[in-house]
Symmetry: C2
Subunit: 99 residues, 2 copies
């Protein structure tokens, strides 16, 4: 997956602070990988793609990916909701801070 | 608080993906407001400053600030650790998604 164009443009995006833009970036990635914003969760494969492609440096702080995906249960039914995705990014952030 | 110069420069920052840079931005703000990186938590006043100054659009999704600060307990002793800060940013993100 290269450039994703599914992100919604905010009318007032130019007024957002750097932190708000950063939060939007993290949100947008979720929607880009959740099959172009058509649903509100990531499948295990979408999650794997996102971590591999978008967290090449911080991904290792998330923990073993295969283990995480296995914990999600049946690969055809498992869903990573936005809240869990945010927590996963938090694990990456905490790992990054410990460096 | 205007520009914060306390952020640690990563040697390989130019290689980070957009999401990784976004995560770093959110992390850096925590350290900028935690009295220039000298401690690992925000006081209630530092948290208030950060939300008011850095989340002018998304801050309302965090919930009533005074209530949140009151819940932290004694203002001279209360601490917002990094994990709680990340959760607070998640509340802002979830509120932003609902818009």
């Amino acid at each position: 997956m290269g450039q994703c164009n599914c992100r919604k443009k905010r009318k007032d995006s130019q007024e957002l602070t750097d932190v708000e833009r950063a939060i939007e970036t993290v949100i947008n990635q979720f929607h880009c990988y959740a099959v172009k914003g058509q649903k509100e969760y990531l499948t295990p494969n979408e999650m794997r793609e996102l971590v591999v492609q978008k967290l090449p440096h911080l991904g290792k702080c998330v923990g073993p990916l295969d283990e995480k995906i296995e914990c999600m249960g049946d690969p055809d039914e498992a869903k990573l909701e936005f809240g869990e995705y945010w927590d996963m990014m938090g694990d990456a952030a905490k790992g990054c801070r410990r460096k």
